[in-house]
């Protein structure tokens, strides 16, 4: 939020009381957000996903693992709106329940990446010097590998299961978060409020986490929401490759993998999970873009 008005708002109140100035600022941001179509559409999609995931067991008409060989590979019908898969399971139910896996991994890995990445980035940016050099070179090294390859390697070492996917993806996305956190912290550390904190004799730890960090949140949030989309894609990819969710879990990637052989005879087996992935990824991407428009006027992509 290191934007325009009132430098005083930049100074995070140590007690986190919301001042009038802050209230006004939030109200203004929300107004901008509401008028940003991209952001609103993204938010709507993400909220839909969250609601579906929360109430998935109520929405899904069938069990996700119950097989029925007599009804295998059936085309979409009223009874099975998305058709059935090669073992007669209801694809609609599986896609609905699959949203939980996707969101669980998407959010889980980004929370992990945020926790580590933000700390590393902000400390690095604030401290500078050798600390900065060492931390950032380590991050650069990790970034030198293509994300999916790095995730694959980690998965091979950890063994395939969903929690390991979260670990692997948290590991992969940490450097991206750290870079953003660092550059934000770099510009923040020369601000007057930091100077004043230093002159008050606050400890480094206090300044980094209570003063600098809150002011770096805007770019971090933008980065995180976009990375959630990447993480969901990565989960689908890993599951597709057999290194993520294990059958009979209804991971979208896994569903596409097992439906791949039926592309010609039962295309609905990959179309619906594929659409679900696309829907979720577009949602988070639009939300991320919208947030950036609102929070970071420098790259304003909307009006004028």
């Amino acid at each position: 939020m290191a934007t325009d008005a009132g430098t005083e708002t930049k100074r995070a109140d140590s007690s986190f009381r919301i001042t009038t100035a802050q209230k006004e600022r939030y109200a203004r941001l929300w107004r901008q957000f509401r008028h940003n179509t991209k952001a609103m559409v993204g938010l709507a999609i993400v909220l839909t996903l969250v609601v579906v995931a929360l109430f998935a067991p109520l929405i899904a008409p069938y069990s996700v693992s119950e097989t029925n060989i007599d009804a295998r590979s059936e085309a979409p019908s009223l009874q099975h709106p998305f058709g059935t898969d090669e073992l007669g399971r209801d694809i609609f139910s599986r896609v609905v329940l699959g949203s939980r896996i996707s969101l669980y991994v998407g959010f889980g890995s980004i929370v992990g990446a945020l926790a580590v990445g933000t700390t590393v980035g902000v400390v690095s940016g604030y401290a500078g010097g050798m600390v900065d050099e060492v931390l950032m070179r380590v991050m650069d090294a990790a970034m030198a590998f293509p994300p999916i390859l790095l995730a694959l390697t980690v998965m091979v070492v950890l063994g395939p299961n969903l929690n390991n996917v979260i670990l692997a993806l948290a590991f992969v996305y940490t450097p991206y978060i750290a870079r953003v956190g660092r550059s934000a912290a770099l510009s923040e550390r020369n601000e007057e409020y930091v100077e004043s904190a230093v002159s008050r004799g606050e400890s480094d730890g206090y300044i980094v986490f209570k003063e600098v960090l809150p002011n770096c949140m805007a770019p971090l949030l933008v980065q995180a929401s976009i990375n959630v989309a990447f993480a969901m894609l990565a989960e689908a990819s890993l599951s597709f490759l057999g290194l993520g969710a294990q059958p009979p879990k209804p991971s979208w990637g896994l569903m596409i993998n097992s439906g791949r052989g039926f592309m010609q005879t039962a295309p609905w087996m990959i179309i619906f999970p594929g659409l679900a992935i696309a829907f979720a990824v577009i949602g988070f991407n639009m939300l991320g873009d919208g947030l950036r428009d609102v929070l970071d006027p420098k790259v304003d992509t909307v009006e004028s």
């Binding site: 693992s65 097989t67 295998r72 073992l87 057999g242 791949r260």
Partner: protein, 559 residues
């Protein structure tokens, strides 16, 4: 990769089956023909299983859409051409004595040959040997070799080569047939074309072993090598080149010794492209890119059959898929836990889920239609009450939860596993599927026995010693589930030394009953077929009696 194909390599293939009394009689001068092995083993008369011609027993019902073999008749056979083969599983090692992968054997058995060979009726016929005789007590096997047999390097094959080849296997435990060679007391090569083996005791499976690449005849100089990378043999095709995991090429051997007596070889060059993805393979084949593919996914069989423009061939049975339980660790060390699982799922439904009607559920490891099948032993029906009863006896009334390691390259097993896990969960048994690679199956499950439940498959079980000894007897070469039963062991050991078919069959039937009652660590699931597709201008029989490998010598291209 498809199940079958793959599995094939999974299964370490082995064994070949029965000996043919009558073939031997035909050639063997010896009266005794103690080789009775022959008669006995032979699943022959039943002949049920598919023999090459693609026809084959389809118990499974799905019609085999093949009119058997579009005439392989020497009559119209044309020479020349290049066969483009879309292969399901990449060729692995190329040392005939060392490699167990079915994918390797599929090419190797065209390159190297043994003293005897398996016939469509599961009997054995001399191949490199002109004739074979046995002593009264069945322990000495004497062979008279064909003259004028040349290796691909131009040298003539003599008994010294045979002896060197066998000694190679005898001399090092790493060779697959080493255990069999331990039954050999002495070998001699009195003249260039005479060779004899003296066994320490009558041992029925020995001849079957000689028909496989594992006891193939190599040039004496090659037999000195610790590992062979470029195989040299006497077969109709010679090794040309290969790119690992990509392609394998063999070419016609112009001086093939058998060319006078048998058909072919006709095709100049056989190029196997390794196309492990079954959908891609089938697509490319349907588009005309390949003349021949193996490993058609069962789910696509109907589509291929309905497409009148290609040949569909089925070789049944190829292999047996089983659910392996680790009997040395909780919970499956308890027989009741194994029985509970056995009662928890419907085998016919599992077979249908995996094979789309191209296979058959079973409770016996003996090849369907062979004399060794105990018809009284049938798969246990699904019965959740009984499952619960056994869970209580095992002291786990609430069920249990175990890992279930499935080799991911076999879609049939992955599908079967999901149905099994689904049904078992209703009985309170949670099987947590973990897809693993084939190499980790070999290292973790097989070598380290680090598993609770798993699935895999075995090939070429028409020879009963493989079905009953190899993976169910503690001294068997593929024993890994830890299930032991003295009574069972005694029966299958005795059967190895018997040459009389009916007595052997009796023992194997009793053994089947024991393994079923005691719920051996191998919970048998189903037999599956090898499914091939060929372009209409590719003529000749496809497939061999063992259900897995291929022989190209009498195949030809009509173009």
């Amino acid at each position: 990769m498809r199940r079958d194909s793959n599995r094939s390599d999974s299964d370490d293939s082995d064994s070949h089956g029965g000996f043919a009394r009558r073939q031997f009689l035909a050639t063997a001068s010896a009266g005794t023909l103690g080789l009775g092995l022959a008669g006995c083993l032979a699943g022959d008369d039943t002949g049920s299983s598919g023999n090459g011609s693609g026809g084959t027993g389809t118990d499974s019902g799905s019609g085999t859409g093949n009119e058997s073999a579009s005439g392989s008749g020497a009559g119209g056979a044309k020479s020349g051409g290049t066969l483009q083969w879309g292969g399901a599983v990449p060729v692995q090692g190329l040392d005939p004595h060392l490699d167990t992968a079915a994918a390797s054997k599929r090419v190797l058995e065209n390159i190297v040959e043994g003293l005897v060979r398996l016939q469509p009726d599961y009997t054995f016929e001399p191949l490199l040997a002109k004739e074979m005789t046995t002593s009264e007590d069945n322990t000495k096997l004497s062979f008279t070799l064909h003259e004028g047999v040349t290796f691909h390097n131009g040298e003539e094959m003599t008994s010294a080569d045979v002896k060197a080849s066998f000694e190679r296997v005898q001399g090092n435990e790493k060779f697959v047939a080493n255990g069999f060679m331990q039954k050999v007391d002495s070998m001699s090569a009195p003249s260039d074309y005479e060779f004899s083996v003296t066994l320490t005791e009558p041992f029925a499976p020995f001849i079957a072993k000689m028909s496989t690449a594992e006891l193939a005849v190599l040039p004496a100089a090659e037999a000195e090598k610790s590992e062979i990378k470029e195989p040299i043999g006497t077969g109709p095709y010679q090794f040309d080149s290969r790119e690992i995991e990509s392609s394998f090429t063999m070419t016609k051997f112009e001086d093939y010794w058998g060319a006078d007596s048998v058909e072919g070889p006709y095709i100049d060059k056989i190029v196997k492209s390794e196309i492990t993805d079954p959908s891609v393979r089938l697509q490319s084949f349907m588009a005309g890119e390949y003349d021949f593919i193996n490993g058609i996914p069962p789910k696509d069989v109907q589509r291929v059959q309905q497409d009148g423009s290609v040949r569909f061939e089925k070789n049944f049975p190829k292999s047996l898929v089983y659910l392996g339980l680790n009997c040395e660790e909780e919970p499956f060390s308890d027989k009741n836990a194994r029985l509970a699982l056995d009662y928890a799922f419907d085998k016919a439904e599992v077979a249908e889920a995996a094979l789309y009607g191209t296979g058959q559920a079973t409770a016996s490891p003996a090849t369907p239609g062979s004399p060794w099948v105990n018809e009284d032993v049938q798969p246990r029906p699904r019965d959740l009450d009984k499952a619960q009863e056994h869970l209580e006896k095992a002291g786990m009334p609430d069920g249990f939860s175990v890992s279930f390691k499935i080799p991911q390259s076999y879609p049939a097993q992955v599908q079967a596993a999901q149905v099994i896990a689904d049904q078992a969960s209703e009985a309170g048994i949670e099987l947590n599927i973990q897809k693993i690679t084939w190499s980790s199956w070999l290292s973790d499950v097989y070598s380290k026995q680090n598993f609770e439940a798993t699935t895999s498959s075995y090939l070429a079980l028409y020879y009963p010693d493989v079905s009953f000894y190899k993976f169910l007897h503690p001294d068997g070469a593929f024993f890994f589930t830890g299930w032991t039963n003295e009574e069972y062991n005694a029966k299958v050991e005795e059967a190895r030394h018997l040459y009389d078919e009916s007595k052997r069959a009796e023992l194997y039937k009793e053994a089947t009953q024991i393994m079923h009652d005691e719920r051996a660590g191998h919970l048998l699931l189903f037999w599956q077929a090898n499914l091939y597709g060929a372009q209409p201008d590719y003529k000749g029989k496809i497939g061999t009696p063992d259900g897995s490998s291929l022989r190209f010598n009498d195949n030809w291209l009509d173009r």
